[in-house]
């Protein structure tokens, strides 16, 4: 079974450009999560979907960040007008069950560098 697949693994953008990160969850998993990881802030929750519906986006910066899950096989995280402080590893994770099990399967992450 393939794990969570994230693309691209590395992305470099100039300040003000747009970045789109892709996630393919494990087949059959009903929940998809996005986290951001930095040295300073650690692992920060951004948002999650259950059965493709957005459930909790309390961690998403209100401006410039958006996430979608158009079908059960992929989710996207879009950052508009990127800023240097957006530089981080963006991690996608999926979970098998709808119930809150805390058992997340993470991808390897997309490292975003904003120059």
């Amino acid at each position: 079974n393939a794990g969570v697949i994230q693309t691209p693994r590395h992305k470099v953008t100039g300040k003000g450009q747009e970045a789109t990160l892709w996630c393919e969850p494990i087949s059959g998993h009903s929940a998809v999560f996005w986290y951001r990881q930095t040295i300073v802030q650690g692992l920060e929750f951004l948002t999650y979907f259950r059965n493709q519906a957005p459930i909790d986006d309390s961690g998403m910066p209100k401006e410039r960040f958006s996430a979608q899950m158009p079908n059960q096989s992929h989710s996207t995280l879009k950052i508009q007008s990127t800023q240097p402080q957006d530089s981080a590893v963006y991690l996608c994770a999926s979970s098998l069950r709808v119930a809150n099990t805390g058992q997340l399967y993470f991808g390897e992450g997309s490292k975003l560098t904003v120059l």
Partner: protein, 113 residues
């Protein structure tokens, strides 16, 4: 405000020793505490977890000790191996609430041979 705190930030032990990683939390509603292990260049992976109704969970060389009254827990890694060198994250979840896991800052463990 950091809801889950870990200490130490980094820890070095010799091969064969027991490594002790500490975690504390603030929210009494948290009732499930997984620990995740992360190697460089990889995403975190679930290592072991405990529910708040238990005070101990063991899985091979990894043991979680949980003190609900003090809102503290610790991960003990016995007979540490160089392959255990990684960053360990304590996380907390309110299973009756949102599904979002709250992570601590992590402890970077180095096992020297």
């Amino acid at each position: 405000q950091q809801q889950v705190r870990q200490s130490p930030q980094s820890l070095t032990v010799w091969e064969g020793e027991t490594a002790i990683l500490n975690c504390s939390y603030e929210n009494s509603a948290f009732d499930y505490f997984p620990w995740y292990q992360q190697f460089p260049g990889e995403g975190p992976a679930l290592l072991i977890a405990i529910r708040s109704v238990s005070d101990k969970k063991e899985d091979g060389r990894f043991t979680i000790f949980f003190n609900k009254r003090e809102k503290k827990l610790s991960l003990h890694i016995t007979d540490s191996q160089p392959g255990d060198s990684a960053t360990y994250f304590c996380a907390a979840l309110n299973q009756g609430g949102s599904a979002k896991l709250i992570f601590g800052e992590g402890t970077k463990l180095t096992v020297s041979s």
